[in-house]
């Protein structure tokens, strides 16, 4: 078990192509950290650099207390699980799992012992003699994880391990990965583009965008207090509703903004640095908008564009007259009587309304 420390890591492919601009991060011993971001954001490159499959252009990588920049991939004490499983097709599952130990010259009895133990943890003992092609996707993924466990690594690296599985199996494996982490208590770094996986698995989430870390934090903190527009838009499903607005009045505890057509919304954020006339972006999550009776103070009129019944909830896509944008609203499943064209009234509670300045940085929320 070991911590992982990244100090000012940079990665250039050629002089002009920079994939990782400057990344510093401390990952604690035993922590489950998820790198998340859209494709091409540098998260997988970062993982491959930790694995030793890519050179580090500049900066320092510590695994435990050892500077690992120039340590060979197989000597770093890490094990990696790949998206395509990367099982050796001509070897049985047991041979696949024991291959690293065999190359390292471990005695056969010990290899068998460790393979057996890993297989028991993952409940794949009955598959050990089979070739990978005789396994289903989920079983292959288990064998791939088993191959990592057998090596008894200090750090586990996962590169989008669930992306090739179907939705039901993905959910299942997600839960099992969580359990595995609780059982092994080893440091795990997990790369995904799926924000749901990130939210559910992580002790801490690291959001990457354009080769930079956008924000690091616990899932709930990131969800409630995104530090900028990118994180706000990336985490959460459906996406946070974002609207252009202009500051009308600002104080240290509240900012009032004006939407187009003169609609006014209040937000409980620290507005000490804001002044009337500033362009801002207002954000509110789908579950925070409230449906109210006509005539309620501060109510905004809106019209229903589309209703989606998901069983447990209802998603309403609505349009506020004068604002050329569809907003998404999460409603309880009991709201079955709403239909296309209905006129409704809604309120943006000021405690739940966020504001982002012209650079996209969040104004501090007062709660």
């Amino acid at each position: 078990m070991a911590s992982v420390t990244l100090k000012n890591i940079k990665k250039n492919y050629t002089k002009d192509v920079t994939v990782i601009k400057n990344v510093s991060l401390d990952i604690q011993d035993g922590e489950f950290v998820v790198f998340v971001g859209p494709s091409g954001c540098g998260k997988s490159t970062m993982l491959r650099m930790i694995a030793g499959l890519e050179d580090i252009t500049a900066g320092e990588l510590y695994i435990g207390d050892t500077l690992a920049n120039d340590v060979h991939a197989s000597k770093r004490g890490i094990a990696m699980v790949f998206q395509s499983y990367a099982l050796y097709p001509h070897m049985s599952c047991a041979e696949n799992m024991g291959f690293a130990l065999k190359l390292a010259g471990t005695p056969k009895a010990e290899i068998d012992e460790r393979v057996k133990k890993a297989a028991e943890i993952l409940e794949i003992t009955h598959l050990l003699d089979r070739k990978p092609k005789a396994l289903s996707g989920g079983q292959r993924q288990r064998v791939a994880i088993g191959r990592a466990i057998v090596r008894n690594p200090k750090v586990f690296l996962f590169d989008e391990p669930l992306s090739n599985l179907d939705a039901a199996l993905r959910l299942n494996m997600r839960v099992e990965l969580s359990k595995l982490h609780q059982e092994l208590k080893t440091t795990m770094i997990y790369v995904t583009h799926d924000q749901v996986e990130a939210m559910t698995l992580a002790d801490r989430i690291v959001v990457f965008h354009a080769g930079l870390i956008q924000q690091v934090g616990t899932p709930l903190d990131m969800y409630d207090n995104p530090s900028n527009l990118f994180v706000a838009g990336f985490l959460g499903s459906p996406k946070m509703n974002l609207l252009e607005a202009e500051v009308v009045a600002a104080s240290a505890t509240e900012v009032t903004v004006k939407l187009p057509k003169g609609l006014v919304v209040r937000s409980a954020v620290d507005g000490s640095n804001a002044k009337p006339g500033d362009k801002v972006t207002m954000g509110i999550r789908a579950e925070h908008m409230r449906l109210v009776e006509e005539g309620t103070p501060e109510a905004l009129p809106a019209r229903v564009d589309l209703i989606e019944h998901l069983g447990d909830i209802v998603l309403a896509y609505i349009e506020i007259p004068g604002i050329n944008q569809i907003l998404c609203m999460k409603l309880p499943a009991s709201m079955t009587n709403l239909k296309y064209g209905d006129a409704i009234n809604l309120v943006f509670p000021k405690e739940e309304t966020m504001l982002f300045d012209a650079e996209g940085l969040a104004l501090k929320r007062i709660r």
């Binding site: 491959r48 499959l53 197989s74 990696m80 499983y85 050796y88 097709p89 690293a100």
Partner: protein, 285 residues
């Protein structure tokens, strides 16, 4: 509807049958002629079955037919060809596999250019190479020898073998190589422990291809050999062109069959892998 599809199926099979007969007819004539006596051949029934089967022509073609002034049959040429084809196929296949492995899985700056240049070799007409190759062989002291022929065939075969292996290995996921690197395997260990065991189909394809090419080659065989190192294609040519008083068709046919037999045998033994290898796409993990 069902009747109609049955009708067309019959038509298709009928056409295929006719084409197959047409294609196999020369082989039939060769086989039957080679076991007929000259008297029977003179009777002029080219397509009739032999009345009296005799292998005299085969034995003459193998051990006593005249090729030019020697009358030792095809046997020495045959063994020359065997001694040429085995090392030439082995070396060109192994080098092609390593080339393909590097060009697909260990790409370096400019590796695509190198591959494009090797690919170019596939399209060069070999006649163009005769003169420079003769000089090269002279410099290396390998002119007119079997080792010289092996060298020529290895050089000329590398373009195709590299192409075969490179294209096959491109279909093997890179993550497999990465996983092996993490497991502690280096360049050669990955090649021998991971890549080669997955290469059976393409190895078969390459071996058949190279064997056929080299065994059947006449151009290099006639240009770069001396009396002692002539391969079987040259021997066959000499045998057929050596005119004595009578043209012995049965001996000519037997000689041609002897010359063709090894490639047929290789194809029959490994043919199913040939088709399988040519059509195999990505290797699924």
């Amino acid at each position: 509807m069902a009747d109609q599809s049955k009708f067309w199926r019959t038509v298709i099979y009928g056409v295929l049958f006719l084409v197959a007969v047409y294609y196999l007819l020369p082989l039939y004539v060769m086989l039957t002629t080679s076991v007929k006596s000259m008297d029977e051949i003179r009777a002029g029934n080219l397509l009739s079955l032999p009345l009296d089967i005799t292998f005299a022509a085969w034995s003459k073609a193998w051990s006593s037919a005249c090729t030019g002034v020697d009358c030792g049959g095809l046997a020495p040429y045959f063994w020359n060809s065997v001694m040429m084809v085995i090392p030439a196929v082995a070396i060109s296949t192994v080098l092609g596999a390593v080339n393909g492995y590097v060009l697909s899985k260990w790409q370096f700056r400019g590796s695509e250019v190198v591959f494009a240049m090797i690919l170019f070799g596939v399209f060069i007409p070999f006649q163009v190479l005769l003169l420079p190759m003769a000089q090269t062989l002279g410099v290396f002291g390998m002119a007119s020898s079997i080792s010289g022929l092996v060298f020529v065939h290895v050089v000329c075969g590398l373009a195709s073998t590299t192409l075969f292996f490179r294209n096959y290995y491109v279909g093997i996921p890179d993550e497999l190589i990465k996983a092996a690197r993490l497991d502690g395997a280096g360049f050669w260990r990955i090649f021998f422990r991971i890549i080669l065991p997955m290469s059976t189909p393409i190895l078969t394809v390459t071996v058949i291809w190279q064997f056929t090419q080299i065994w059947n080659d006449f151009l290099f065989g006639v240009v770069f050999s001396s009396i002692e190192s002539r391969p079987i294609t040259v021997g066959l040519n000499n045998l057929a062109n050596t005119s004595t008083s009578v043209k012995e068709y049965n001996v000519d046919m037997a000689a041609a069959l002897i010359a063709a037999l090894p490639t047929i045998v290789v194809y029959v033994l490994a043919g199913k892998y040939f088709v399988r290898g040519l059509t195999a796409g990505a290797v699924k993990g």
